[in-house]
């Protein structure tokens, strides 16, 4: 009888949970990669969803009918707890809005704002409604769903398999030393595989995540396991290694295992959740601030020439750390939503008043890890040594290990071990500064207080001055850290003409900024009038500031409301909502500058993340067999009659070496011929020829009868990827005019000046065939034997003049041959709309005599991320080319009075329709 009762009880329970699980899996099939299992294009999804609901309904019915009424027993306390429900509703609303904000701002990358945040939002609701005993199991399932959604079945299975093997070794019933030995052997195998010495069946995409799951957490886990510092067990262990947000962030906080276990629901659950939401909001704010600095303030070393630019370079590059702090706050915030009440990871480190203070605040988890596993064991091992000597050895060991682990982390993430002198010097200097500060504190003590009293102005002034000192020194060290070499760092310092008055003004600005921040910070530490004893405030009072900030952010992210703030504020908000590289990184990406760079500076760069995704065979055109050397100023050109592949796309050229259809050299009768010069976008990099805007515009010109005087239109594509304006000029003079064009399309984009500038610096002075260009360079003071850095500083102010010279020469060439010169400007990449630069280039082109079509708005109708070939290749994809083609076609129709394409008058009527 008892067994029957149990069966009824279990059947109803399993039917309910199983049914809901099926319904949830069907509903989220797209998200977690299950859609392909549910018929073609997920055709059976609705059936599975309904099936799940029916099974769940059977569970509810049997539960109700057979008297145990587990569902009611479960739901009753939830429903009766009105306060709890109100708090839960408030949390759902805040999290929902935050999720929407992250999506609207494309924060970080798709795997995060789409997969991880969707799983977090829905997972949080379900997780909270589950009985406490089931929650950790659900968290593991949710984390595995995250893996599936990002990596798919095969890679997820490998990742899970490797993880289980490693964890299994750790728990094998053999002596501890034997387990460590086997783990080291396994690590050796994985190292060989990471180097590429051993072929493995999984893709390289999983390495960074596998590494970030185990490279530090495994050390902590083994340490705690050995010393029995926290309970282990399959569920505890799996939940520690499979942390949901990890799948989106290779640089992950070093979560301590005993803290992870100790803080699990160690406080009121709603307060833990609300703290999580607060950290997530901080993360979002950090990331938006990072974008502002990255897009508008960061400069490269080549721009440093004065006190102000030197300070701008140092401070802005240092503040790029906000990206990491933003990510870490998001990670810790998400973990709070599942009950892990972990301590704060960073503590207003910009206001550190000493170097030990900085070390304690900048990355609390890392400091705790080093302290626990290396510093204390080293210190306590030297029992017979004097205190000062112990302090010196243990501190320096901590920094030696930190340096090594950064290189180690870099190896697992990127596959190359980082060994650079600036990196070694940075950590050595940091170690010595912290050690000196520690010795001082050991000697003279540090002021501590039980209750934070109101700070006097004198105390705030003293703290501000100390914080300024730390900030200046760290900024200086940071500039060393991000320099490719020590000599380049010295070159950077030497290149700035520093004056004392400018230095004093800069310092005063820094003091004023940090002083204001210090005032606000000190005030925030005081107990409020409403809460004079400084205890934890009531939930809704605690939640109010976060909820208000989220609401404001949400409205700002809505174009309707942002528009009311004025055009410039609205443009700024729209740009901050765009996930893009800054101008400098975009130019570096285009040139493949970081391809072989394992420099530490890339830790803060979005570029290295893109390179991690890039397949090895995704190489620039000029490094493929699609080009041949020309042994002249152009350097290379396309190979004629080629039938190959470039960047995974078929690449076919005609007999003249154009990526285009075949044409006779002389234009057929009654044909209007347009020649197009340009670079990779015009050449159709990353798309099929039939998808390129050149093909689409030509097709449209011929398919839509205009009733004009020409029977046929031809656009001959002379564009070659990587060409700058002078190489295009050389191609024009050597090749293009032989094809007797009627019109020239000179395709430009907003990074043309940078490309020309870098080309001139890399080209020997005597190899430049244009006396006009050489003359401008001589005027700038550039000589043949000059160092690149020096030449760059001298040449930069004359860059525009060289562009102007090139444009004038193109126009003169065209006019001499009766060719109509048309200059067309596009954004340098989808999502990067530099209106000011486009306008300034357009003015130069117009002055040179071009008919100007400034199409900087070509990509306006879609987010940049949807118009790029791949995340690591920012050229427009097929959709981007369609937008360009539409925009060019519309511009041609709109400008028929200036551009003599020979359309009939009626065509003007359709100009508006072309959009």
């Amino acid at each position: 009888m008892m067994e029957v009762w149990n069966l009824k009880k279990l059947l109803s329970l399993y039917a309910l949970v199983g049914g809901l699980a099926i319904a949830l899996l069907a509903a989220g099939a797209d998200l977690i990669g299950f859609a392909s299992l549910l018929g073609e294009n997920g055709a059976w999804r609705n059936h599975f969803f309904l099936l799940g609901l029916v099974i769940a309904a059977i569970g509810v019915t049997t539960d109700f009918a057979f008297g145990e009424r587990l569902l009611f027993a479960w739901l009753r306390p939830i429903v009766r707890d009105w306060q709890g429900l109100a708090k839960f509703a408030s949390l759902i609303a805040q999290l929902g809005l935050l999720t929407v904000i992250m999506r609207l701002c494309y924060l970080e990358h798709h795997a995060f704002y789409h997969q991880v945040m969707s799983l977090t939002f829905y997972g949080f609701i379900i997780h909270h409604l589950l009985p406490r005993a089931w929650r950790l199991h659900f968290f593991i399932l949710l984390s595995l769903a995250g893996l599936l959604s990002v990596f798919g079945f095969a890679d997820s299975a490998w990742l899970l398999g490797i993880s289980l093997v490693l964890i299994g070794i750790c728990h094998a019933p053999i002596p501890f030393w034997a387990r460590v030995t086997i783990l080291l052997a396994a690590g050796g195998f994985l190292t060989a595989a990471r180097f590429g010495y051993v072929a493995v069946p999984w893709t390289k995409a999983i390495w960074p995540i596998l590494a970030s799951m185990f490279m530090f957490r495994f050390i902590i886990y083994l340490y705690d396991f050995k010393h029995h510092k926290a309970p282990v067990g399959l569920v505890n262990t799996l939940s520690y290694f499979f942390l949901l947000p990890n799948v989106a962030f290779p640089l992950f906080p070093v979560v301590d295992y005993s803290a992870f276990r100790r803080t699990y629901y160690n406080e009121d659950e709603y307060r833990i959740y609300q703290t999580g939401i607060k950290w997530m909001l901080w993360g979002v704010l950090h990331l938006l601030l990072y974008r502002y600095i990255n897009y508008y303030w960061v400069i490269g070393p080549e721009k440093v020439h004065s006190t102000y630019t030197l300070v701008q370079y140092m401070v802005s590059n240092y503040l790029l750390i906000l990206r990491l702090t933003g990510q870490f706050h998001l990670v810790v915030g998400i973990l709070h939503l599942f009950g892990f009440n972990l301590p704060r990871i960073m503590d207003v480190f910009l206001l550190s008043t000493g170097f030990t203070d900085y070390w304690r605040r900048v990355n609390v988890y890392w400091k705790d890890f080093i302290q626990k596993v290396f510093y204390y064991p080293a210190y306590f091992r030297m029992r017979k040594v004097g205190n000062t000597a112990k302090l010196v050895v243990a501190t320096l060991l901590g920094f030696l290990v930190t340096w090594f682990f950064h290189a180690y982390q870099w190896f697992w993430i990127r596959g190359a071990f980082m060994l650079s002198l600036p990196d070694i010097l940075f950590w050595l200097c940091m170690g010595l500064l912290v050690l000196t500060n520690s010795l001082y504190e050991a000697q003279y003590g540090r002021k501590r207080a039980l209750v934070k009293g109101a700070a006097t102005l004198r105390e705030i002034a003293s703290k501000t001055l100390r914080a300024t000192g730390v900030f200046v020194v760290i900024s200086l060290l940071w500039s060393l850290w991000i320099s490719p070499s020590v000599s380049e760092w010295f070159d950077l310092l030497k290149s700035a003409e520093v004056t004392l008055p400018e230095l004093a003004i800069t310092l005063l600005v820094v003091i004023a900024g940090l002083g204001s921040a210090m005032l606000v910070y000190e005030k925030s530490l005081q107990p409020s009038a409403a809460n004079p004893h400084g205890g934890a405030p009531a939930f809704f009072r605690f939640a109010a500031p976060t909820a208000a900030a989220i609401l404001i952010l949400y409205f700002l992210a809505q174009p309707t409301y942002a528009f009311r703030l004025g055009a410039s504020a609205s443009d700024l908000i729209a740009d901050l909502k765009t996930d893009r590289l800054n101008e400098r990184d975009a130019a570096l990406l285009e040139r493949g500058y970081y391809e072989n760079l394992t420099n530490v500076s890339t830790f803060n760069s979005q570029l290295w993340e893109l390179y991690m995704q890039k397949p090895d065979d995704w190489i620039p055109l000029e490094e493929t067999s699609a080009v041949r050397q020309t042994h002249d100023f152009r350097k290379y050109e396309l190979v004629p009659l080629l039938n190959g592949t470039v960047k995974h796309a078929p690449f076919i050229t005609n007999r003249w070496g154009m990526r285009d259809d075949d044409y006779e050299q002389m234009p057929p009768a009654n044909t209007y011929r347009i020649a197009m010069i340009g670079a990779s976008v015009a050449q159709g990099s990353g798309v099929l020829h039939e998808e390129s805007f050149e093909y689409l515009v030509e097709k449209r010109l011929n398919q839509e009868p205009r009733g004009g005087k020409y029977a046929k239109y031809e656009i001959l594509n002379f564009a070659v990827g990587g060409y700058n304006i002078l190489q295009q000029l050389a191609a024009l003079e050597n090749k293009v005019f032989d094809f007797k064009p009627d019109m020239l399309f000179c395709m430009s984009h907003t990074r043309d000046e940078d490309r020309l500038f870098k080309f001139l610096l890399e080209t020997p002075f005597q190899a430049i065939p244009y006396e006009g260009v050489r003359q401008i360079m001589r005027t700038a003071g550039v000589t043949a034997d000059m160092k690149t850095n020096r030449a760059a500083k001298l040449l930069e102010p004359y860059n525009g003049e060289i562009m102007s010279w090139a444009y004038q020469r193109i126009v003169e060439n065209c006019r001499a041959r009766g060719v109509v010169p048309v200059w067309i400007c596009l954004p340098s990449e989808p999502g990067l709309k530099d209106t000011k630069r486009a306008a300034s280039l357009a003015a130069v082109a117009a002055e040179a005599g071009f008919i100007v079509l400034n199409l900087i708005d070509a990509y306006d109708s879609a987010p940049g991320a949807y118009l790029q070939v791949t995340p690591w290749d920012k050229h427009p994809n097929a959709k981007g080319h369609r937008l360009i083609a539409n925009r060019i076609y519309a511009a041609l129709l709109e400008n028929q009075d200036k551009i003599p394409l020979g359309f009939s008058g009626a065509a003007k009527l359709s100009a508006s329709k072309a959009e």
């Binding site: 005993s258 100790r262 204390y376 064991p377 210190y379 306590f380 205190n387 520690s438 501590r448 209750v451």
Partner: protein
């Protein structure tokens, strides 16, 4: 146990919180998470306990669980004394 707590409290007040009101330091006042015991202060605390009670504190015992309150410090010492 209470005697240990008193000695630990007196030491903390004298060494790390001179001039502070003793009434503000309770057995459960958070020391590590409250910023009173940082890594160096924790080491000093451990050295004091070792010297005072003739016990040996191991590196892996230097954690928040043992050092976060006067009560947990007293428990650590008590356990070590009891184990002798």
């Amino acid at each position: 146990m209470n005697e240990i707590k008193k000695i630990v409290k007196d030491y903390i007040l004298e060494e790390f919180l001179p001039g502070e009101d003793p009434a503000g330091l309770a057995d459960e006042t958070p020391l590590v998470s409250g910023g009173i015991l940082d890594s160096m202060a924790t080491i000093k605390m451990a050295a004091f306990l070792e010297k005072k009670y003739g016990v040996q504190i191991e590196a892996h015992e230097m954690n928040t669980k043992n050092f976060n309150t006067i009560a947990s410090l007293a428990s650590l010492v008590q356990a070590k004394l009891g184990g002798k």
